[in-house]
């Protein structure tokens, strides 16, 4: 009986691997016909509340693509909704609040999360998935900056004007808000790992809007609280954001085992920028442009080879896209990428 850990975990720990593991952010999603058939037009929050359905949506891409990880079907706002924040996730738009956070008093709307009673469907989903597959499951949560930006803006933003105004004009209120969110995300991630998730990803999707100085002062401390708060558990921690080319060193310093990189920075350049910042060894995850996946397959596989080439000297590499799968993507292309990465990196 083979007792070695799955290749995903080996790569994340910078251990020797038999081949490079692959998964795709948003691999469970509208690009899959079986997903659209099962989900229909309902709200994602309703789907997430149904453990049998959420588990099936989690498993669909594992079967279809042969990826090396399942990623929990959920949403970063689920823990906030669970503690009573009024948020609707609008298709094509994203999370929208019934009442945005506009003053220090609003921090009081965030009570501590008690995962077993607040997130029973999420934890049941994890248990069902574990029963159905041996492929490791990745759990996730939103990072404090990104979640705070939704709360403060009241929805998605291009400029993050209200968010930046709050952080600069009322830094104490800002830090209180981020501290409260950090405890919620930390509690959710710990519960996911204890329920069986093999690894977790902290999504700071929009933090690339900050300068490095802003990141270090206003985002890093709360993210570090989460990542360090998971250090006693065995599950590797991935830390990811989009447009974070200037933030790779401080993001590595926040304490993750794996740094996710978008498609703008080649992985060898990313490794050089992060070098020396991480407390331990650092694996990288990424970073094929999701938009390239709409091109003809030969172009996609050539771009895949570029990513593998840039990753050749890394101590650990998890192949992924540089952001989530686009809905227009042909599932056949994603399957071809998985097979290609496996073939190209297979050790003799």
């Amino acid at each position: 009986m083979d007792t070695s850990p799955p290749v995903l975990i080996q790569a994340m720990r910078c251990e020797p691997v038999g081949r490079t593991p692959v998964w795709f952010m948003r691999q469970a999603g509208r690009s899959l016909p079986e997903y659209r058939a099962l989900r229909g037009g309902g709200s994602i929050l309703e789907a997430v509340a149904d453990p049998e359905l959420a588990a099936e949506l989690t498993l669909q891409p594992v079967r279809r693509y042969g990826v090396d990880a399942a990623i929990l079907f959920s949403d970063i706002v689920v823990p906030l909704v669970a503690i009573g924040v009024g948020i609707e996730v609008q298709p094509g738009r994203g999370p929208v609040l019934d009442q945005r956070f506009s003053s220090d008093d609003d921090v009081g709307r965030l009570r501590p999360l008690e995962p077993e009673s607040d997130l029973p469907a999420m934890l049941d989903t994890i248990r069902i998935v574990l029963h159905e597959t041996d492929v490791p499951l990745i759990g996730f949560a939103g990072a404090p900056f990104t979640l705070a930006s939704y709360l403060v803006e009241g929805g998605p933003s291009r400029t993050f004007a209200l968010t930046k105004r709050l952080m600069h004009a009322e830094p104490e209120a800002w830090h209180r808000l981020l501290g409260a969110i950090a405890q919620i995300s930390l509690a959710s991630l710990r519960a996911q790992i204890l329920a069986g998730a093999s690894a977790v990803q902290l999504f700071d999707s929009w933090v690339g809007a900050l300068s490095r100085a802003e990141y270090e002062e206003f985002a890093l401390p709360a993210s570090r609280t989460i990542l360090e708060g998971l250090a006693d558990l065995a599950a590797p921690r991935i830390h990811f954001g989009v447009g974070t080319g200037e933030l790779l060193a401080p993001m590595a310093a926040a304490g993750a085992d794996v740094l996710g990189v978008d498609w703008r920075v080649p992985l060898d350049v990313a490794a050089a920028r992060a070098a020396g910042s991480a407390p331990g060894k650092l694996a990288l995850q990424g970073n094929l442009d999701p938009a390239i996946c709409l091109a003809p397959t030969d172009v996609v596989l050539e771009a895949t080879d570029s990513v593998l080439g840039a990753a050749r000297q890394l101590p650990g590499h998890v192949f992924n896209l540089g952001h989530g799968v686009l809905p227009e993507t042909d599932p056949g292309v994603l399957k071809a990428i998985v097979e290609h990465v496996h073939e190209r990196t297979e050790q003799q």
Copy 2:
């Protein structure tokens, strides 16, 4: 009589300056009450078609802020509209096409621009502005990638999925499209300079969505056509995009005199990345975060000092924001920035 060129032009040419010049992208805009009073709720394309009105909107921020440049009140889609492409500029959304470019045949919808007959209002606006002020006027045009993205997507995009699909799947059609746009933008810029603009800015606002390899293959050649096509004229050329931290070297290589940098990359880091790529001396423009301008004035001026500090060793620096003024900005803050930059950089 002082016959030396304006400080804006001196800085752009990397010549010694009496003080650092300042202007703001989108300084004519909704942040000014006198702008809102004059513009009302009409379409920007209507306002641009009225030279007296467009000239007045161009001049308002010069009077209010004491900036070192006027920037022509116009829109990057104006030359496309002038040759018959059906585009509406929707407030709060941006340019939307009546019919997006979806096949190679659509390139035929772009006929050559004849500025004197196609852009009479724009050229009249320039003549009126020159009559009213001695402050140098900056003209502008859209870069081929950014304009092509609107044509191909049919409007603003977050992912540029259709644009990237076209460039990768049909590279010949892509290059034909960009070549046609390059000739239009080049003709517009040459006409603006001949009408009296002292400098021009090529806006490649969304090119930061590309990887460096994509930029070099699919965007740089057409931008170079424009920038080199202006080399025989005396007006300095600014080249700007958002989120272009990984593209600074190839953007510098495209032939501009001044490289605009957004707020994510400190100017000294930007200079190091671009070093050696520009054909001649390279000045930098930027790069205060427009969202910081919503913070209390002391925070804004501290951030302004950071920008000036990072710019200290540059051969030439034009102070600006890292992107356009946000509509929520207090005009008093912008005025304070101008005065602060002038005071701090005044040569004894």
